[in-house]
Protein backbone atom coordinates (compact mmCIF):
# COMPACT_ATOMS: atom_id res chain seq x y z
CA UNK A 1 0.00 0.00 0.00
CA UNK A 2 2.86 2.36 0.83
CA UNK A 3 4.36 1.66 -2.62
CA UNK A 4 1.07 2.58 -4.37
CA UNK A 5 0.87 5.77 -2.29
CA UNK A 6 4.44 6.74 -3.15
CA UNK A 7 3.81 6.00 -6.84
CA UNK A 8 0.70 8.21 -6.85
CA UNK A 9 2.57 11.05 -5.11
CA UNK A 10 5.45 10.82 -7.62
CA UNK A 11 2.85 10.87 -10.43
CA UNK A 12 1.30 14.03 -8.93
CA UNK A 13 4.68 15.77 -8.65
CA UNK A 14 5.60 14.82 -12.23
CA UNK A 15 2.18 16.04 -13.42
CA UNK A 16 2.72 19.38 -11.67
CA UNK A 17 6.15 19.85 -13.28
CA UNK A 18 4.93 18.94 -16.78
CA UNK A 19 1.84 21.16 -16.34
CA UNK A 20 4.18 24.10 -15.65
CA UNK A 21 6.32 23.41 -18.73
CA UNK A 22 3.60 22.31 -21.21
CA UNK A 23 3.38 24.45 -24.34
CA UNK A 24 -0.42 24.42 -24.63
CA UNK A 25 -2.73 25.54 -21.83
CA UNK A 26 -5.17 22.74 -22.73
CA UNK A 27 -2.59 20.04 -21.93
CA UNK A 28 -1.75 21.93 -18.71
CA UNK A 29 -5.42 21.72 -17.67
CA UNK A 30 -5.53 17.97 -18.40
CA UNK A 31 -2.31 17.47 -16.39
CA UNK A 32 -3.90 19.37 -13.48
CA UNK A 33 -6.71 16.80 -13.75
CA UNK A 34 -4.12 14.03 -13.27
CA UNK A 35 -3.07 15.68 -9.99
CA UNK A 36 -6.66 15.95 -8.74
CA UNK A 37 -7.71 12.41 -9.65
CA UNK A 38 -4.51 10.95 -8.14
CA UNK A 39 -5.45 12.80 -4.94
CA UNK A 40 -8.90 11.14 -5.13
CA UNK A 41 -7.22 7.71 -5.38
CA UNK A 42 -5.01 8.57 -2.38
CA UNK A 43 -8.08 9.53 -0.32
CA UNK A 44 -9.75 6.22 -1.26
CA UNK A 45 -6.63 4.21 -0.32
CA UNK A 46 -6.42 6.04 3.04
CA UNK A 47 -10.12 5.13 3.66
CA UNK A 48 -11.56 8.65 3.47
CA UNK A 49 -14.56 8.22 1.09
CA UNK A 50 -16.13 11.51 2.27
CA UNK A 51 -13.18 13.50 0.99
CA UNK A 52 -12.97 11.35 -2.16
CA UNK A 53 -16.59 12.16 -3.14
CA UNK A 54 -16.05 15.91 -2.76
CA UNK A 55 -12.63 15.77 -4.44
CA UNK A 56 -13.81 13.87 -7.53
CA UNK A 57 -16.85 16.13 -8.09
CA UNK A 58 -14.96 19.39 -7.50
CA UNK A 59 -12.06 18.19 -9.68
CA UNK A 60 -14.40 17.31 -12.57
CA UNK A 61 -16.26 20.64 -12.27
CA UNK A 62 -13.09 22.73 -12.14
CA UNK A 63 -11.62 20.78 -15.10
CA UNK A 64 -14.81 21.50 -17.10
CA UNK A 65 -14.65 25.20 -16.19
CA UNK A 66 -10.91 25.40 -17.06
CA UNK A 67 -11.43 23.73 -20.46
CA UNK A 68 -14.50 25.89 -21.21
CA UNK A 69 -12.47 29.02 -20.44
CA UNK A 70 -9.55 27.83 -22.60
CA UNK A 71 -11.80 26.92 -25.54
CA UNK A 72 -13.55 30.32 -25.29
CA UNK A 73 -10.34 32.36 -25.13
CA UNK A 74 -6.96 30.93 -26.18
CA UNK A 75 -4.77 27.92 -25.44
CA UNK A 76 -1.56 29.89 -26.01
CA UNK A 77 0.81 30.05 -23.04
CA UNK A 78 1.73 33.74 -22.79
CA UNK A 79 4.18 33.39 -19.89
CA UNK A 80 7.21 35.64 -20.31
CA UNK A 81 10.36 33.77 -19.30
CA UNK A 82 13.16 35.61 -17.51
CA UNK A 83 16.42 35.73 -19.50
CA UNK A 84 18.78 34.69 -16.71
CA UNK A 85 17.10 31.58 -15.26
CA UNK A 86 20.19 30.07 -13.59
CA UNK A 87 20.20 32.24 -10.40
CA UNK A 88 16.50 31.52 -9.83
CA UNK A 89 17.06 27.78 -10.34
CA UNK A 90 19.93 27.82 -7.82
CA UNK A 91 17.81 29.68 -5.26
CA UNK A 92 14.90 27.26 -5.84
CA UNK A 93 17.16 24.21 -5.48
CA UNK A 94 18.67 25.62 -2.26
CA UNK A 95 15.16 26.19 -0.89
CA UNK A 96 14.11 22.62 -1.81
CA UNK A 97 17.16 21.16 -0.02
CA UNK A 98 16.53 23.33 3.05
CA UNK A 99 12.84 22.32 3.05
CA UNK A 100 13.70 18.61 2.77
CA UNK A 101 16.12 18.86 5.72
CA UNK A 102 13.44 20.61 7.80
CA UNK A 103 10.81 18.02 6.84
CA UNK A 104 13.16 15.13 7.70
CA UNK A 105 13.91 16.74 11.06
CA UNK A 106 10.20 17.34 11.76
CA UNK A 107 8.99 13.89 10.64
CA UNK A 108 11.50 12.19 12.96
CA UNK A 109 9.54 13.42 15.99
CA UNK A 110 6.14 12.24 14.72
CA UNK A 111 4.40 9.12 16.11
CA UNK A 112 4.22 6.03 13.81
CA UNK A 113 1.75 6.05 10.88
CA UNK A 114 -1.77 5.13 12.06
CA UNK A 115 -1.10 5.84 15.75
CA UNK A 116 -1.79 9.56 16.29
CA UNK A 117 -0.72 11.01 19.61
CA UNK A 118 -3.88 13.14 19.93
CA UNK A 119 -6.45 11.12 21.86
CA UNK A 120 -8.71 14.00 22.98
CA UNK A 121 -11.69 13.20 20.74
CA UNK A 122 -11.43 9.42 21.08
CA UNK A 123 -13.71 8.94 24.17
CA UNK A 124 -16.55 10.74 22.35
CA UNK A 125 -16.29 8.68 19.16
CA UNK A 126 -16.17 5.06 20.36
CA UNK A 127 -19.02 2.80 19.13
CA UNK A 128 -20.38 2.73 22.70
CA UNK A 129 -20.37 6.51 23.21
CA UNK A 130 -21.70 7.55 19.77
CA UNK A 131 -25.44 6.73 20.30
CA UNK A 132 -25.61 9.02 23.34
CA UNK A 133 -23.38 11.86 22.08
CA UNK A 134 -24.83 12.51 18.60
CA UNK A 135 -26.66 9.39 17.40
CA UNK A 136 -25.04 9.59 13.96
CA UNK A 137 -23.45 6.44 12.54
CA UNK A 138 -21.06 8.50 10.39
CA UNK A 139 -18.17 9.80 12.49
CA UNK A 140 -17.34 12.56 10.03
CA UNK A 141 -20.87 14.00 10.08
CA UNK A 142 -20.93 13.73 13.88
CA UNK A 143 -17.77 15.83 14.11
CA UNK A 144 -18.55 18.29 11.30
CA UNK A 145 -22.16 19.09 12.23
CA UNK A 146 -22.28 18.55 15.98
CA UNK A 147 -18.92 18.81 17.75
CA UNK A 148 -17.63 21.44 15.32
CA UNK A 149 -20.87 23.08 14.21
CA UNK A 150 -19.41 26.60 14.51
CA UNK A 151 -16.76 25.67 11.97
CA UNK A 152 -19.35 24.40 9.48
CA UNK A 153 -21.47 27.52 9.94
CA UNK A 154 -18.37 29.55 9.09
CA UNK A 155 -17.75 27.40 6.00
CA UNK A 156 -21.34 27.93 4.83
CA UNK A 157 -20.96 31.69 5.36
CA UNK A 158 -17.68 31.69 3.39
CA UNK A 159 -19.38 29.91 0.46
CA UNK A 160 -22.30 32.39 0.59
CA UNK A 161 -19.91 35.37 0.62
CA UNK A 162 -17.88 33.93 -2.28
CA UNK A 163 -21.01 33.54 -4.41
CA UNK A 164 -22.08 37.10 -3.56
CA UNK A 165 -18.63 38.28 -4.64
CA UNK A 166 -18.95 36.46 -8.00
CA UNK A 167 -22.39 38.00 -8.58
CA UNK A 168 -21.10 41.47 -7.66
CA UNK A 169 -18.16 41.21 -10.09
CA UNK A 170 -20.18 39.76 -13.00
CA UNK A 171 -23.38 41.81 -12.63
CA UNK A 172 -24.92 43.49 -15.66
CA UNK A 173 -26.90 46.31 -14.09
CA UNK A 174 -25.03 49.40 -13.01
CA UNK A 175 -21.80 48.59 -14.79
CA UNK A 176 -20.04 51.68 -16.14
CA UNK A 177 -18.64 51.38 -19.66
Amino acid sequence: MLIILCGLIVLMILGAFVALEAASLLSSAVLLGIIGFSLTAIFLILQAPDLAIVQIVVETLSLVIFITAILKTTSEDATVRARARLPFLVIAAAFVVLFMVAVYWALGSMPPFGQPSLRMAWPYLTPEALPRTTGAANFVTAVVLDFRGYDTLGEAAVLFTAVMGVLAVLRKIGRKH
Binding site: P49, D50, I53, V54, V57, V58, T60, L61, V64, I65, T68, K72, L130, P131, R132, T134, G135, A136, A137, N138, V140, T141, A142, V144, L145, D146, G149, Y150, T152, L153, E155, A156, A157, L159, F160, A162, V163, V166, L167, L170
Partner: protein, 144 residues
Protein backbone atom coordinates in the same frame (compact mmCIF):
# COMPACT_ATOMS: atom_id res chain seq x y z
CA UNK B 1 -22.75 28.83 -25.40
CA UNK B 2 -23.98 26.36 -28.04
CA UNK B 3 -25.32 22.92 -27.16
CA UNK B 4 -23.43 19.70 -27.83
CA UNK B 5 -24.20 16.85 -30.28
CA UNK B 6 -27.34 14.73 -30.07
CA UNK B 7 -25.29 11.84 -28.62
CA UNK B 8 -24.35 13.97 -25.61
CA UNK B 9 -27.93 15.27 -25.32
CA UNK B 10 -29.42 11.75 -25.32
CA UNK B 11 -26.95 10.43 -22.73
CA UNK B 12 -27.58 13.52 -20.59
CA UNK B 13 -31.37 12.97 -20.76
CA UNK B 14 -30.86 9.41 -19.53
CA UNK B 15 -28.42 10.20 -16.73
CA UNK B 16 -29.19 13.66 -15.30
CA UNK B 17 -32.14 12.37 -13.26
CA UNK B 18 -30.07 9.52 -11.84
CA UNK B 19 -27.25 11.93 -10.89
CA UNK B 20 -29.78 14.24 -9.20
CA UNK B 21 -31.29 11.29 -7.28
CA UNK B 22 -27.82 10.13 -6.22
CA UNK B 23 -27.13 13.63 -4.85
CA UNK B 24 -30.38 13.55 -2.87
CA UNK B 25 -29.45 10.09 -1.55
CA UNK B 26 -25.99 11.29 -0.43
CA UNK B 27 -27.55 14.29 1.37
CA UNK B 28 -30.32 12.30 3.09
CA UNK B 29 -27.95 9.52 4.26
CA UNK B 30 -25.24 11.97 5.31
CA UNK B 31 -25.43 10.91 8.98
CA UNK B 32 -25.21 7.18 8.10
CA UNK B 33 -22.88 6.75 5.12
CA UNK B 34 -19.98 8.75 3.64
CA UNK B 35 -21.08 12.05 2.18
CA UNK B 36 -23.34 14.74 3.57
CA UNK B 37 -24.53 18.22 2.74
CA UNK B 38 -21.36 19.48 1.06
CA UNK B 39 -20.63 16.42 -1.13
CA UNK B 40 -24.26 15.71 -2.00
CA UNK B 41 -24.99 19.37 -2.72
CA UNK B 42 -22.13 19.48 -5.22
CA UNK B 43 -23.48 16.31 -6.91
CA UNK B 44 -26.97 17.91 -7.19
CA UNK B 45 -25.42 21.08 -8.61
CA UNK B 46 -23.40 18.98 -11.08
CA UNK B 47 -26.64 17.49 -12.47
CA UNK B 48 -27.87 21.00 -13.36
CA UNK B 49 -24.44 21.97 -14.75
CA UNK B 50 -24.50 18.85 -16.99
CA UNK B 51 -27.99 19.80 -18.26
CA UNK B 52 -26.89 23.35 -19.12
CA UNK B 53 -23.59 22.22 -20.71
CA UNK B 54 -25.24 19.56 -22.91
CA UNK B 55 -28.19 21.64 -24.11
CA UNK B 56 -26.42 24.99 -24.32
CA UNK B 57 -27.24 28.19 -22.48
CA UNK B 58 -29.49 29.39 -25.35
CA UNK B 59 -31.94 26.50 -25.05
CA UNK B 60 -32.05 26.47 -21.23
CA UNK B 61 -33.30 29.48 -19.28
CA UNK B 62 -30.14 31.03 -17.79
CA UNK B 63 -31.40 34.45 -16.71
CA UNK B 64 -29.92 35.03 -13.27
CA UNK B 65 -32.85 37.19 -12.14
CA UNK B 66 -35.44 34.53 -13.11
CA UNK B 67 -33.44 31.68 -11.53
CA UNK B 68 -34.51 30.42 -8.11
CA UNK B 69 -30.99 29.23 -7.24
CA UNK B 70 -30.21 32.46 -5.36
CA UNK B 71 -33.36 31.94 -3.26
CA UNK B 72 -32.44 28.29 -2.53
CA UNK B 73 -28.89 29.26 -1.57
CA UNK B 74 -29.95 32.09 0.76
CA UNK B 75 -32.60 29.82 2.31
CA UNK B 76 -29.97 27.16 3.03
CA UNK B 77 -27.62 29.57 4.80
CA UNK B 78 -30.43 31.18 6.79
CA UNK B 79 -32.01 27.83 7.78
CA UNK B 80 -28.68 26.42 9.04
CA UNK B 81 -28.17 29.49 11.21
CA UNK B 82 -31.81 29.22 12.39
CA UNK B 83 -31.22 25.60 13.46
CA UNK B 84 -28.30 26.74 15.60
CA UNK B 85 -30.41 29.54 17.15
CA UNK B 86 -33.32 27.16 17.88
CA UNK B 87 -30.85 25.04 19.84
CA UNK B 88 -29.99 28.12 21.90
CA UNK B 89 -33.63 29.08 22.57
CA UNK B 90 -35.23 25.63 22.97
CA UNK B 91 -32.26 23.88 24.53
CA UNK B 92 -29.28 25.12 26.45
CA UNK B 93 -26.45 26.21 24.14
CA UNK B 94 -25.83 27.35 20.57
CA UNK B 95 -25.92 24.32 18.23
CA UNK B 96 -27.65 22.18 20.89
CA UNK B 97 -29.00 18.94 19.36
CA UNK B 98 -32.61 19.54 20.40
CA UNK B 99 -34.31 16.63 18.56
CA UNK B 100 -34.39 13.08 19.99
CA UNK B 101 -31.39 10.99 18.90
CA UNK B 102 -33.38 7.89 17.90
CA UNK B 103 -31.88 4.49 17.12
CA UNK B 104 -28.42 4.21 15.57
CA UNK B 105 -28.37 3.37 11.81
CA UNK B 106 -32.01 4.43 11.21
CA UNK B 107 -32.76 7.08 8.57
CA UNK B 108 -34.59 9.24 11.14
CA UNK B 109 -31.93 9.40 13.82
CA UNK B 110 -29.13 11.65 15.07
CA UNK B 111 -31.41 14.55 16.04
CA UNK B 112 -31.05 17.65 13.87
CA UNK B 113 -28.08 16.39 11.85
CA UNK B 114 -30.22 15.18 8.86
CA UNK B 115 -32.00 18.58 8.80
CA UNK B 116 -28.64 20.39 8.88
CA UNK B 117 -27.38 18.17 6.05
CA UNK B 118 -30.47 18.99 3.93
CA UNK B 119 -30.17 22.77 4.37
CA UNK B 120 -26.39 22.68 3.72
CA UNK B 121 -27.04 20.57 0.59
CA UNK B 122 -29.58 23.15 -0.61
CA UNK B 123 -27.07 25.95 -0.02
CA UNK B 124 -24.18 24.23 -1.82
CA UNK B 125 -26.33 23.13 -4.79
CA UNK B 126 -27.80 26.64 -5.12
CA UNK B 127 -24.32 28.19 -4.95
CA UNK B 128 -22.88 25.90 -7.67
CA UNK B 129 -25.85 26.45 -10.00
CA UNK B 130 -25.88 30.22 -9.37
CA UNK B 131 -22.16 30.65 -10.14
CA UNK B 132 -22.41 28.45 -13.24
CA UNK B 133 -25.51 30.27 -14.59
CA UNK B 134 -23.79 33.62 -14.04
CA UNK B 135 -20.71 32.44 -15.96
CA UNK B 136 -22.75 30.73 -18.71
CA UNK B 137 -24.93 33.80 -19.43
CA UNK B 138 -21.90 36.11 -19.48
CA UNK B 139 -21.52 37.72 -22.91
CA UNK B 140 -17.97 38.55 -23.95
CA UNK B 141 -17.49 41.07 -26.75
CA UNK B 142 -20.04 40.83 -29.58
CA UNK B 143 -20.96 37.17 -29.09
CA UNK B 144 -24.68 36.58 -28.67
Amino acid sequence: MRGMTSIVKTVTRAFEGIIFLFGVYVVLHGHLTPGGGFGGGVVIGAAFVLHILANGSREVETDVRKSRSALVESFGTFAFWTLAIVGLIGGTVYFYNFISKGTLFRLLSAGFLPLANIVIGAEVAGAIVLVFITLASLKIGGEK
